[in-house]
Structures are given as C-alpha cells and as structure tokens.
Symmetry: C2
Subunit: 206 residues, 2 copies
C-alpha cells in the first residue's frame, strides 16, 4: 500500500497519543474527538495523523485503546528493545543512567563512555564505562542502535563524530551545542532552555 | 486590538523561530517561506503564527532578522530576567544548575531546595540550597517567578504542591512523574523518554 509520507510532527504527535493511551484501560474505547481534546488539537488532525499509518479505528465507533496503543507502538518501532550508548557520564549523564523512564519504554543504556580516568572501568548504575577510543569496537560488538550525547558543549561535535564513525545512525543530543551530522543520521536535540522559554509567554499572557 | 488567541503550539513554534533567528545576522532579512523551510513547515503556517501577535513584516519583502527577533522575544516575555527556584538538587538538579543555556536566555536560578542535610546551607554552582520548609518565605522574599522540579518521581507532587503554596504559577517538571496542578498554574513536563521514543520511528522507516 502506498501512503503519503508522514511529516516529522505526525511522529511527534503519535508519541503524545501513546502517552495518553498508556493511562487508559486496554478495553476502553476512545474517539478521535476525545483524543483530540486531550491534546488540545482537532479530531480532523488526529484522524489525519493516524491515517498516515493505515486504517486503525472503525468509523463512527472510535478506537479500542489497547489495539490502538499496540498499533501505534508498532508503527513507531516501540515494540522491541533499543540499545543505547551514552557519551559523557558527568552529572547529567549519571542522571540519565538512573532515569527510570527509559527502560520502561524499551530503551536500554548498555554502555557509557567518558574520558575521566576515575570513571573508566567502573560501573555506574550497573552500566560499564569505557574510554571513547573503544567506542567503534564496543558499539559494533554490542550492536548498539542509538547514541546519547551528554558531554559539555565544546566536546559535543567530537562525540557525535565518534558515534557516527562507530556506525550509529540516530543521536539524541542533550548538550547545549548545535552539532552537525550527515544526512543519513537522525539527530534530535533536547534543549532545556527552549523548554523553559515557552513558560514566560503564559505568565505574560495570563 | 483584538486578536484571535494563539494556540499553545504557536507559542512553541515561536520559540523555534527564535532559535533560528538567533543564528542569523541582525541586518539580514528573511521571508516567511525561508523561515518555513528551516522548520520543515509551510509559509502559510509561519505567517499565521506571526499574525497572532500583530503585524511583523512587510508583505513581499519579508522580515528584518533583528527586528523580528526582538518582537518575538517581547511577545514571548523573553525581554526580561526570570527568576527560578529549583526543587531537588540531586544529579539532574546539579546538572541543571550548571546548564549554561539558562542564564544566556535570561533565566536565573536563584535558589535551590533539597532535603539532604549535607546540601542545606551550602552553595552549589553559586546557588544557595535551603530546606523545603523555607520555600514559602524565600520564594516570596526573592520574588521567584518559576519553579523547576528535579526530584525523584515519588516526591514530585509534594514538590509541586509546596511551590504552588509558595505562590509559584509556572512549573517546569523534569521528574518522570505526572503531577497535577490547579487550572491557574502553567505546567510543562520535560519527558526524556518521550524525546527518545520518536527516534526508532526514523530507524524503522529509513
């Protein structure tokens, strides 16, 4: 079946739908209008988003929560385990190692990399830490899928380059640096400042 | 002037526009189509977003970067300093205290709160740490605008309640817990797992 390619934002919204669906019972049913209301968007938008990925619900009857959840998870590739290498095991990196939400969602941080001698060879939160020069070998051997960057800004591009040389094709960047990657690598930036920047708008326009 | 109320997503997109505009020269000019291309959206969308906030550019001529940046910043309330109280000074909290992007964007973390006796009375990254029981007094005295929650999931609701009792009306929640707040409080959740959840979609659909 040939379908229109889904835009980036549709994938982002799918993950939001999933978040709401996870809080509901398997057997409940939900309409596109209800889903739209939870997200502050329109029913048309929801139906369009889901249509990119095939036929989900029954027209006029809505969706069964459990089934919709399962199908969205599958479309998003969340029906399996993804392995992660963490680059930078400082304060933020250590916090990410202990973040309970990752493993629950099927994301396993299998290895960490840091240049600090007192960290290399240790395990932090059960995860072994190695020197970055071992990255290509370890990432290949352990079949790592995704890289997380949590190094200081000035080391971020180098961390990305090393991950890419090691064969990684998807990176989540927590450093405040803007890094560049080749076209075949998927990069997402987590920018704490931009999360905060949206808040004053609501205080000012209250 | 009466204008249609901007939807939440428009404010989010404004912050994205701002991020791109900051990387350009003051005197450069940019069209809505160019701005749209950078963001992977449409020129119509950009013009609509900006129209919620008044008349910005010259039709057919586009926008002057410096002027557009200034006006968006003003609309978003980013033309001033915002003060922040951080609740939870563990690994993530400490990482946030040292995050260089906040101060650059006008967000000053002025005070931290933690229950650990070995942290209370100390300064971490130059920020004084107090016991949460002092929260109402300190937040009032220091005229704090925004609360950031970086405590473990099980303590997140209590942290939010204390912030709200202290008069805080805008909260950025970094804990993986879902917390509830009264209607007059603006809450934004930073969910690391959901940032990661979007990535497999691109690996699977490559």
């Amino acid at each position: 079946m040939v379908r229109e390619k889904a835009p980036e934002n549709a994938a982002l919204r799918l993950s939001l739908y999933l978040r709401y669906l996870r809080e509901m019972g398997e057997e409940e049913s939900i309409s596109s209008e209800q889903l739209a209301q939870l997200l502050g968007t329109s029913g048309v938008r929801v139906r369009k988003d889901l249509s990119y990925f095939g036929q989900f619900g029954t027209p006029g009857k809505g969706y069964t929560v459990g089934k919709l959840r399962e199908q969205i998870s599958k479309v998003m590739g969340l029906d399996r385990i993804w392995t992660i290498a963490l680059v930078g095991v400082g304060k933020l990196g250590t916090a990410l190692l202990g973040y309970p939400g990752f493993r629950k969602s099927g994301f396993h941080i299998k290895v960490g990399f840091d240049v600090k001698p007192n960290k290399i060879g240790r395990k932090i939160a059960g995860v072994p830490i190695h020197h970055p020069y071992q990255m290509p070998r370890i990432i290949r051997e352990q079949k790592i899928h995704i890289g997380i960057i949590a190094v200081p800004a000035e080391a971020a591009q180098e961390a990305a380059d090393l991950l890419i040389i090691s064969g990684i094709k998807a990176i989540l960047n927590f450093s405040p640096a803007r890094i560049t990657v080749p076209f075949y690598v998927k990069l997402r930036n987590v920018d704490f400042a931009s999360q905060l920047e949206v808040i004053p708008y609501y205080i000012v326009n209250r």
